[in-house]
Amino acid sequence: MSERLLRLMASRWTRLVLVSLILLGLQTTLLNDMRPFNVMIPVMLLFAVTAGTLYGSEIGAISGLIIGVMYDCVLSTPLGLASLVFGAAAYAAGLLPFFVREPTWWTRAITIGIVGAAGELAFPLAQSMVGFSGRFQPHVAVVVVFVIVAGMIVAPLLLPVCRWTLKESLVG
C-alpha cells in the first residue's frame, strides 16, 4: 500500500499537478497584475506547449488536458474549454520533430512562442463555438504578437522546469 502511494507520489503526473498549481498561483497573482500592453503572459498554456515540444504529442496532449482542467477551474468559462485548447496546442507542439530532425533549445523556444500564440488565439474561437460570442476583437492581434515574443523569452525558463517535471523517473 505504502509502496503504491510512494509510486503515485513519485509519478510524473503528480509532479505535473504540483508544479502546475504553483504556476497557476503565479498566473493568478503576479502575471495577472503585470500586464505589459494590457496582455497577460499565459504561462499555463506555454507550459503545456513546452511539454509537447519536449515529450511529444501524446504526453503533451495529456499534460495539456490536466493543466487545462486546472486552469478551467479558476475561469468563468465552461469547464473543459481550456483543457481542449491546451491539449490541442500541446499536441500540435509535439509534432515539432516531424519538421525539425533534432530540435535545439532555440527551435523549441520559437515553437513554444508560435504554438502558444496559436493556442491563445484558439481560446476565444473555442468560446465562440460554445456560445460565448464577442471575444474576437482587435485586441486579439496585440495578444497574439505579445504571446509569440513572451513565449520565446519565457521558454528557456520553462524548458528545464518541464523537463524535470515530466521526467519518467527522478532516479538516475
Binding site: 498549481l21 495577472n32 499565459p42 486552469y71 465552461p78 473543459g80 476583437q137
Partner: protein, 345 residues
C-alpha cells in the same frame, strides 16, 4: 488526441448543462487552490509593487493631484446631492415606487481578477453563505460594476459590465438645450389693454409681443366701444410653466460590453422626436422593470460619444462608466435576483 477531445467535450457539455459534478470539482479545486494563491500573492507582492512603481508612478501622482482637487469640488455638491436623493426616495416611497434604499445589500472585497486575456470578471470574498445568488447586481460607491455569474459557499465571480457577454436595459436621461417658458403679464399704457411677453426656448425669438385689443362688436345698433369690457384691476404677474419639451426626457436602450480596453455602447435607442439629439454627458441609469437584470436608477455612466447611424437603427452611444473597473477594492451586492436569472428549485 481523440480521447482528449472526447474528454473535453464531455466536460464542456456537463458544465453547460449545469452539472453538480463540475460545480463540485470547481468548488473543491477552489478550496485547495486558495491557500496556494494566497501564498503566491504574498511572495510575489514585492515584484508586483515594483512593477506598479515602475509603470504607474507618474500616473498615480497626477491622479492623486486631480483627485484632491475633485474631492474639494465635490464635497459641497455631495451634501446637496444627498439631500436630493433623500427627497427623491421619499417621493418614490410616497408613490409606492421601488427604490434602491429598500433593497438589502452585502459588502464584499475583491480578491482577484480573471486570469485571462478575454474574460472580464473579478472574484469576491462572499458567496451563498451571505445570501448571494447568480444574477444579482454588483455596485461600488460610484455605480454599477457588473453581475454575479458564479457562486460558491464563500466566494463568487462577478462578470464586469465591459464583458462582451454583458447586456443590460438602461435609460438615457437627455436634457434638451432649452429654457423654461415664462409668461409675464404687464400693464400697458392703455388701461384697457395688456401686453403679454412670452419668453420661449432660445431657438425661437425670445420676445413675442402680443398686444390685446379692447373687446368690440360689429353688430348694428351698437356703438363701438360701448361694450368695452369692464375695467378690472391689472396686476403684474409672472408665471413659469414647466412645458413638457423642457423637462428631461428618458429613452431606453441596451448597454453592451465590448471587452478589454473598449468602452461599452448603448444600442437600440429610439430616435424619437421628443427625445431630441442625445447630448454627450447625459447620464445613463439602469432601466429596471420586471425582466431587467438590475433595479431601476442605478448609475451606470455618462454618454461620451454619439455615433449617428442611418435609417431606423438609431444612434450608437459610447459610455464612460462611472465605476473604475481597473481598480476595484470593495463592492456591494444588491440582494435582488432578477426573475430571468432564477432557477427552478
Amino acid at each position: 488526441m481523440a480521447l482528449l477531445v472526447l474528454t473535453s467535450i464531455i466536460l464542456v457539455t456537463l458544465d453547460l448543462q449545469g452539472s453538480s459534478a463540475t460545480k463540485s470539482l470547481r468548488s473543491i479545486f477552489g478550496t485547495v487552490f486558495r491557500p496556494i494563491e494566497s501564498v503566491a500573492r504574498v511572495v510575489t507582492r514585492p515584484a508586483t509593487n515594483a512593477w506598479y512603481g515602475i509603470t504607474h508612478y507618474n500616473d498615480v501622482t497626477a491622479e492623486n493631484e486631480l483627485l484632491r482637487e475633485k474631492i474639494a469640488q465635490q464635497e459641497g455638491a455631495a451634501v446637496a446631492a444627498a439631500a436630493s436623493v433623500r427627497l427623491s426616495q421619499e417621493l418614490l416611497a410616497l408613490n409606492g415606487l421601488p427604490t434602491l434604499a429598500g433593497i438589502n445589500s452585502v459588502s464584499a472585497q475583491v480578491i482577484g481578477d480573471s486570469p485571462s486575456n478575454f474574460v472580464q470578471s473579478v472574484e469576491i470574498d462572499q458567496g451563498t453563505e451571505s445570501g448571494i445568488k447568480v444574477g444579482m447586481p454588483v455596485l461600488n460607491a460610484a455605480g454599477l460594476v457588473g453581475k454575479i455569474t458564479q457562486v460558491f459557499s464563500n466566494r463568487a465571480v462577478v462578470m464586469l459590465i465591459t464583458d462582451p457577454q454583458y447586456a443590460l436595459s438602461v435609460k438615457i436621461i437627455n436634457a434638451p438645450k432649452t429654457l423654461a417658458t415664462t409668461v409675464t403679464t404687464v400693464p400697458n399704457q392703455d388701461p384697457a389693454s395688456t401686453v403679454t411677453i412670452v419668453s420661449v426656448p432660445e431657438t425661437i425669438d425670445p420676445l413675442i409681443t402680443v398686444p390685446t385689443v379692447p373687446a368690440t362688436s360689429n353688430i348694428a345698433g351698437f356703438t363701438p366701444g360701448s361694450i368695452v369690457a369692464p375695467r378690472t384691476p391689472i396686476i403684474s404677474s409672472s408665471l413659469t410653466i414647466p412645458p413638457g419639451s423642457n423637462v428631461s426626457v428618458r429613452e431606453t436602450g441596451i448597454l453592451e460590453g465590448r471587452g478589454a480596453g473598449r468602452v461599452p455602447t448603448v444600442r437600440f435607442v429610439d430616435a424619437a422626436q421628443r427625445f431630441g439629439v442625445v447630448q454627450p454627458g447625459s447620464p445613463i441609469v439602469t432601466a429596471g422593470g420586471s425582466l431587467s437584470l438590475a433595479p431601476p436608477d442605478i448609475v451606470v455612466g455618462t454618454v461620451s460619444r454619439v455615433k449617428e447611424r442611418l435609417g431606423t437603427a438609431g444612434p450608437l452611444l459610447e459610455i464612460d462608466i462611472v465605476a473604475d473597473l481597473s481598480n476595484l477594492s470593495f463592492v456591494r451586492i444588491l440582494l435582488y435576483q432578477p426573475i430571468t436569472e432564477r432557477t427552478a428549485p
